[in-house]
């Protein structure tokens, strides 16, 4: 899950916060496939829309990701669904996802979401992150 949306509304639209998201796959092959799919959507400028859809599908009861289900989620969210399917089938982001996941693990990230505000690890709750952001906006701790 992600805790970012309410913070985006509060801080991003006013230009006070830049959000960076890096999907990793510490929860198995399905995570990896979903992260690859998000990268494929990103090729078409649809990373955020697709990422939202993946999270929403879980909230709606989707219990497993497969190539088919991930391709269905792309419908209406990517300009070229065939290109998306080809990208996903190619597995061209697999190595990149695995590498960034391995690096995240090496840095001690063992649970998600893991969040950092100006480089400082902060618990991934809306309240904690909002507080940390406000501290930074006030000039830092």
């Amino acid at each position: 899950v992600s805790v970012l949306p309410p913070l985006e509304e509060e801080f991003v639209t006013s230009g006070r916060l830049q959000v960076r998201v890096q999907p990793i796959a510490i929860l198995g092959r399905e995570s990896e496939l979903a992260a690859e799919a998000a990268e494929c959507a990103g090729e078409q400028g649809s990373f955020w829309q697709y990422s939202d859809a993946v999270f929403a599908s879980q909230a709606a009861g989707e219990t497993a990701f497969s190539r088919d289900s991930l391709e269905r989620l792309a419908e209406g969210r990517v300009a070229d669904r065939a290109a998306f399917a080809s990208c996903l089938a190619s597995g061209r982001y697999r190595e990149a996802v695995q590498a960034s996941t391995a690096e995240a693990r090496a840095q001690g990230i063992s649970s998600v979401p893991a969040t950092f505000v100006n480089g400082r690890k902060v618990p991934a709750t809306v309240d904690a992150l909002r507080s940390a952001i406000l501290v930074e906006l006030a000039g830092g701790p």
Binding site: Q18, R20, Q22, W48, F116, P141
Partner: protein, 88 residues
Amino acid sequence: VGRRASRAKAQEPRGGRGAGWRLYALAAGGAAAALAVLIALAETGVDRGGGGGTPLPAADATASATDRSHVLGDAAAPVTLLEYSDYR
């Protein structure tokens, strides 16, 4: 679910519907600037102290070869929030 859907709305003031590629182009420039700041902080060993958090290791993933983060928001924003997430 609704909160995720709001993300698209948040982008609209910066370009509106169909402006994804422009956002990515802007984001790429912003990411480079943010990386420079993060690298500088890591190299100078700055410990921002306090707050109960843990400084990100010097080998910051955002400044690594494996970085493939996606960026939303203004490159000039004073605060950067990095999230590692998993879709499961």
